[in-house]
Symmetry: C2
Subunit: 244 residues, 2 copies
């Protein structure tokens, strides 16, 4: 066994030049590997944890090394967003069911966003240019055009839909991302909502009659209800502009 020098055990005092955190062998740095890592950190700890330094550390290198593959943090986040958009499944357009199909696409986007914490924060305020985001937008446009929605309305509608989905997704995760690390976020959230409800109910009746009266309804969370309400209104509104 020890006849061949190359089989000698490395002596214990010979430490590798850079002790690496992860036991995985280092693969050569690529943009894809960086985006993968950023996505993993995003999923686990949210967007605020995605820092150049953290991603570099996770890859066993220094922050400066990332800049050879990604031009800056904003671009990295946009790449993560487009990677998430790749998960959105799109229907085969059926003109008879275009409204329901448009809703399905919206629900798919929302689900993909929610699977990746507060990634929607990247989406709001970025004109979509990544290939996968464009694929989704193209599908929405195709559905509306098939449904007889005039071009100018369709253009405004993609935008309105996108903003609604972004805002809903951000709201849905912000409270979770904000709760302290150790705690159970669901319990924490319930506690917070109950506090807000009690506060609403305790407001002076003369100045806030409606808020006091419906404090319960205002804080009855129902993530999905809120989304479906906005979605339904939006799609019906778009449909009202369609030529029959």
């Amino acid at each position: 066994l020890l006849e061949d020098g190359s089989e000698l055990p490395t002596p214990p005092w010979h430490k590798p030049r850079k002790p690496r955190r992860s036991e995985a062998p280092r693969r050569p740095l690529t943009a894809e590997l960086i985006v993968d890592t950023a996505t993993r950190v995003m999923d686990a700890e949210g967007m605020d944890a995605v820092t150049m330094r953290r991603i570099a550390q996770e890859l066993g290198t220094g922050p400066a090394s990332l800049y050879a593959h990604v031009s800056n943090k904003d671009e990295l986040l946009e790449l993560v967003l487009d990677r998430v958009a790749a998960e959105v499944r799109l229907p085969e357009p059926d003109p008879a069911r275009w409204q329901e199909q448009l809703k399905e696409v919206a629900r798919e986007i929302r689900a993909a966003f929610r699977r990746h914490r507060d990634i929607a924060r990247v989406s709001l305020g970025t004109i979509p240019t990544g290939p996968n985001l464009l694929r989704v937008a193209e599908c929405e446009l195709a559905l509306m055009r098939a449904g007889g929605v005039p071009v100018p309305v369709a253009a405004l509608a993609v935008d309105a839909l996108g903003r609604m989905i972004d805002a809903d997704s951000i709201e849905g995760t912000l409270l979770l991302d904000r709760s302290p690390k150790g705690k159970d976020p669901h319990e924490e959230f319930g506690h917070y909502v109950r506090q807000v409800r009690d506060y609403f109910a305790s407001l002076p009746l003369d100045r806030f009659p409606n808020i006091v009266a419906i404090a319960d309804e205002l804080t009855r969370g129902g993530d999905d209800d809120r989304f479906e309400f906005s979605l339904d209104i939006l799609v019906r509104g778009i449909a009202s502009h369609a030529e029959r």
Copy 2:
């Protein structure tokens, strides 16, 4: 003139212990003064410029001093938001015109947000609890109740309206806040939009037929058009749930 010792000019080598940037005499620190300063910085340079250190510097003190009056940066930003909400003028409810009045309130909020750069980023993802935000929400609820909108719908609608206004305001300012400091943001923005349009138009026709075909409409900015489109759809959708 020089008979009285107290009138002696201070010798030039006697520097005040802390050379202060601003020539204004320092007023005692209060939460209000801090919020004022934060708002001023926000207006001038946007939310990213509002840091504890910068506000402290502006007030001629160190960042630690702020924590005696404001519990942390998040709270400071919420105080700024509520200060902005104080600018929103609310109509006297007239049940016959509730839909138009609801729109007016939405436009007022949007205008106030836009006057203060990207302050809307604070609003998205915060349950409104400041007195002025509550005043606005109370008014919206009153208008809808007067219009015969059922309580559960009204509760969802305040939310939907708020999210739409937030998202619109954020989008409206993000591109401006992002443009490099020295440049004229309007020119910069126009340049960017033209680039995006050309990019859309150059996409492969087989995969993106609709985006290519309506590249022009998709990038025809029209901030106000986009807002009015969403607002109109939302209010009509809410009204469709009203009992007559």
